[in-house]
Symmetry: none
Subunit: 233 residues, 2 copies
Amino acid sequence: MSSPRYATIKEALRSQITQGLLAPGDRVSSENQLASEFSVSRMTARRALLELAEEGVLLRSQGLGSFVADTRPMSSVTQIRNIAEEITQRGHRHSCCVLQHTELPADSLSAMQLGLNTGELIFHSDIVHMEDGLPIQHESRTVNPRMAPDYLAQDFANNTPSAYLSAVAPLTEAEQSVEAILADSDIAKNLQVKKRSPCLKITRRTFSEKGVVSLAILTHPGDRYRLGSHMNF
Amino acid sequence: MSSPRYATIKEALRSQITQGLLAPGDRVSSENQLASEFSVSRMTARRALLELAEEGVLLRSQGLGSFVADTRPMSSVTQIRNIAEEITQRGHRHSCCVLQHTELPADSLSAMQLGLNTGELIFHSDIVHMEDGLPIQHESRTVNPRMAPDYLAQDFANNTPSAYLSAVAPLTEAEQSVEAILADSDIAKNLQVKKRSPCLKITRRTFSEKGVVSLAILTHPGDRYRLGSHMNF
DNA sequence: AAGTGGTCTAGACCACTTG
DNA sequence: AAGTGGTCTAGACCACTTG
């Protein structure tokens, strides 16, 4: 039941990177060095390096060596993912801090975006998501109560709004825009970054069969987050 | 200059699939069969099968074999668009300013990203695109000369690099990441924004059938540009 | 010249699936 | 029992990069 040797080597390299012993741009041990360090054949050490390169963790170049790639997390533009899953999948710990979780009357803009009347009660949450204790996303979410009447009763310590909502009102459609903004003092405080530092702001409207489910404004520190996508034509 | 043997095997399998000799669900030859058919070692035949599986062409299962996968859904949710067309479509006027348009030897990073050798000549352009006279995108583009040998002869006043490149080397694949950065003094000057204002930076690598075509770094003023997408599930 | 990654061989033992 | 893919070895020659 032991894991393959190439997997052990991958894990060792990965943890050196997450621990900061290897920084982006650093050269990692060569195939031959790893083979001798871990007492495996070069082909096995090579496989570890190749797979890490495939995963975007390393860059390799003939004659030069293998180098640590930009380590910022990258999530896909083309799919809607649960931030907690994303973090867990990277081998990190997700935690979050619920700043607000309440109902309030819709102002005209929110009402319009959710397809409700101004003044109708809507649900609103403000949550900071953390990766290994460091803030990675501020989620400001406005929810259509017709689509998720029990939203307020949810405890978001173990389940994200995104996960809950897609369970009660399966996603059929989403609209989003991505922009670069400067952190105002609120965002700066919540994300633990300097005021006026660059942030990636994703504004997303999600739909289920019966209409608009929620509006999310997701703000990420620019130096700790990237959005990535891979397209085939 | 001959291609590796595993590539030959991949091509053979691929063409059998496109010609219809192998249909989705069909089992392809096993590692051992391919090894003997092509007179290579099992490891080499194996590599061909592994890479095709990685690319989504095959599905493999221990004890069972390798099977042709179902035709993949085209998930081109985010599309690569030509900035000039985009602007024109909005009813505005596109213009551009070519800051640089030259050839130079590749440093090791560019070489790695383009799949070339360090020191090989590559093409490079720096262009500012304007919408109704106001800068909207700074395009720093590095081009693989093998894919577009006449790149330097192009006049970008009426045709963007993107349009030219997709004409001479049709896009088959693209990889991109999106991040929020602060304008440095160069970018600030080119985009006519204040230094340290937020910008959206898109790093895109485009591929045609034969390999990497170009690497583009597209920088947009955060307050004049957004990326949007609409998804259906 | 010494080191790097890229390709390749001819073996080996294993876990898994089917007949 | 025979065949499949999964892991691994200990070699080899090559192209490429740097000093």
